[in-house]
C-alpha cells in the first residue's frame, strides 16, 4: 500500500504550504496523476482522506485530475497518445515508444482560509 505513504507526502506538502501562508485550514487539494504514474487515483484519494485526519486538511476535498499518456514513436516518428504501457503505437502498431508524458504525480494547488 504505497498509496498511503504518497498520501502522507501530499498532506505534508499541503500543510507546509498552508503554514507558510499563515492559513488555518485547507479545504481543497487538487492533484495531477498521470496515466502512467505508479499509483491508483481512487486509492490515493481515499488514503489522502485518511491521512488528513487531525491535520489542517481534516475534511478537505481531494480532487484528482488524470493527465493523458503520451509517447514518441520511433518507428513512425510521431508524437502519439498512449492509453497504457505495453500497448502498441496507435498509428503504426510498433512498440518502440518513448514515454514523453503521463508519469507525473503532483500537488497542483490548495485552497486555504
Amino acid at each position: 500500500m504505497h498509496e498511503l505513504s504518497l498520501a502522507e507526502n501530499v498532506i505534508r506538502i499541503a500543510e507546509d504550504a498552508a503554514r507558510h501562508a499563515a492559513a488555518k485550514r485547507v479545504s481543497r487539494v487538487r492533484l495531477a496523476v498521470g496515466a502512467f504514474a505508479h499509483v491508483d487515483p481512487d486509492t490515493l484519494q481515499f488514503c489522502c482522506e485518511l491521512a488528513a485526519r487531525q491535520t489542517l486538511l481534516e475534511g478537505a476535498e481531494f480532487l484528482v485530475e488524470r493527465t493523458p499518456g503520451q509517447a514518441f514513436c520511433k518507428d513512425c516518428a510521431q508524437d502519439v497518445a498512449l492509453e497504457r504501457i505495453g500497448f502498441p503505437c496507435p498509428l503504426c502498431g510498433g512498440f518502440d515508444l518513448r514515454v514523453t508524458g503521463g508519469e507525473e504525480m503532483r500537488v497542483l494547488d490548495i485552497a486555504v482560509s
Binding site: 504505497h2 504518497l6 507546509d16 501562508a21 518513448r98 504525480m105 482560509s113
Partner: protein, 282 residues
C-alpha cells in the same frame, strides 16, 4: 516520522535497530528548504484582496505544482552523489517474492571473487535471514526491515549506507547490491539512488508478468530471467517473455541465468564488471 521528508516509516529498522529520527544532512534539507520557500513565494502571490483584509479570512488558492515524490527523489539524488563520489556501482534488484534474488547475490559474491569489494543492503518486511545468508559469504550486509512497508525508499537506504559506512564496509570503487522487498508493484516508483534497477523474473512465474506489471519492467535496465534450469519441466515461453518485456521497455537487455547450473553467470559478471569500470574513479 522523519522531520525532513515526512516519510512515515515508523516500523522500519536497520539491523534490528529503529533509527533515531533526526533531520537529514545538509544536502537534501537544503533542497527541501528551497521547495518550502517556493511554496511561501507562491503564497505571497495569492490574490491581493486577501493580503489587505486578513480579518475576513477569505478562501484563496495557493499554486504549488509540487512533485509528490520530491522528498524521496531529493534523498535519492543525495545517495547517488555520495555513491558517485566513492566510485561505487549500485544496483537495485527488484522482483516478486522468491524469484531468487538472495541466491543470486550469494552466488554472485562467491563468483565475483573480490574483483572489487562488495556490500549488500537487504530489504524485507521481517527477519534478518537474507542479510545472514549474505554475511555467511563474508560480505558485509545491512538488513532493513520495513515492517508493514512494501518497498524500500531513499531515506531507508541513506540510513543503511550510513550504517555500512560506520562499519567501514562501504569502500571506494566497490559494488553495492540492494535487494528490494519482494514486490512487483511499488518499488518501481521509488528511486533509491542506484545506477540501475535490475528486474528478476523466474521462469516459474509465467511469461506474461511484464505485461501484468509493466511499471517494474519499464523501470529496469536489465532483466534477469532466473531459474532457467527448470525450463524442461515447465511450458514457460522464453521468447514470449522477452518480447513482452521489450514491449514495455524497448531494447531491454536480458540475461538468462540459473544459480543451479551456473548458466548465464559469465554474462552477468561481465555486465557487473563493465558497470563497475564505468562507475570507478580514475
Amino acid at each position: 516520522m522523519c522531520t525532513t521528508c515526512g516519510c512515515g516509516h515508523g516500523e522500519t529498522t536497520i539491523n534490528g535497530i529503529a533509527p533515531v529520527r533526526k533531520r537529514h544532512a545538509s544536502g537534501p534539507l537544503g533542497a527541501y528548504r528551497r521547495l518550502e520557500q517556493g511554496a511561501a513565494h507562491a503564497a505571497e502571490a495569492a490574490p491581493l484582496g486577501a493580503a489587505h483584509a486578513p480579518e475576513v479570512d477569505p478562501e484563496r488558492t495557493i499554486r504549488l505544482e509540487h512533485d509528490i515524490l520530491a522528498s524521496n527523489d531529493a534523498l535519492a539524488e543525495a545517495n547517488r552523489r555520495q555513491l558517485a563520489q566513492q566510485g561505487i556501482f549500485a544496483l537495485n534488484l527488484v522482483s516478486s517474492p522468491g524469484s531468487g534474488k538472495t541466491t543470486l547475490l550469494v552466488e554472485t559474491i562467491q563468483r565475483w571473487a573480490r574483483q572489487t569489494p562488495v556490500a549488500v543492503v537487504e530489504g524485507d518486511q521481517q527477519t534478518a535471514n537474507d542479510a545472514e545468508r549474505i554475511r555467511a559469504t563474508g560480505a558485509p550486509a545491512v538488513q532493513i526491515n520495513t515492517g508493514k512497508g512494501c518497498h524500500l525508499d531513499a531515506h531507508m537506504v541513506a540510513g543503511a549506507l550510513a550504517t555500512l559506512r560506520a562499519e567501514n564496509a562501504l569502500q571506494d570503487n566497490s559494488l553495492l547490491l540492494i535487494e528490494n522487498v519482494g514486490n512487483l508493484v511499488c518499488p518501481a516508483a521509488f528511486d533509491l539512488g542506484e545506477a540501475h534497477k535490475v528486474a528478476i523474473l523466474s521462469v516459474t512465474e509465467g511469461e506474461d508478468k511484464p505485461l501484468k506489471y509493466p511499471d517494474m519492467f519499464r523501470a529496469a535496465d536489465l532483466l534477469i530471467l532466473s531459474k532457467i534450469d527448470l525450463l524442461p519441466y515447465l511450458d514457460f515461453d522464453v521468447d514470449a517473455a522477452i518480447r513482452m518485456a521489450r514491449q514495455v521497455r524497448p531494447g531491454l537487455e536480458v540475461i538468462r541465468l540459473s544459480t543451479r547450473s551456473g548458466e548465464g553467470f559469465d554474462d552477468w559478471l561481465a555486465w557487473l564488471a563493465a558497470g563497475c569500470a564505468k562507475a570507478q574513479r580514475g
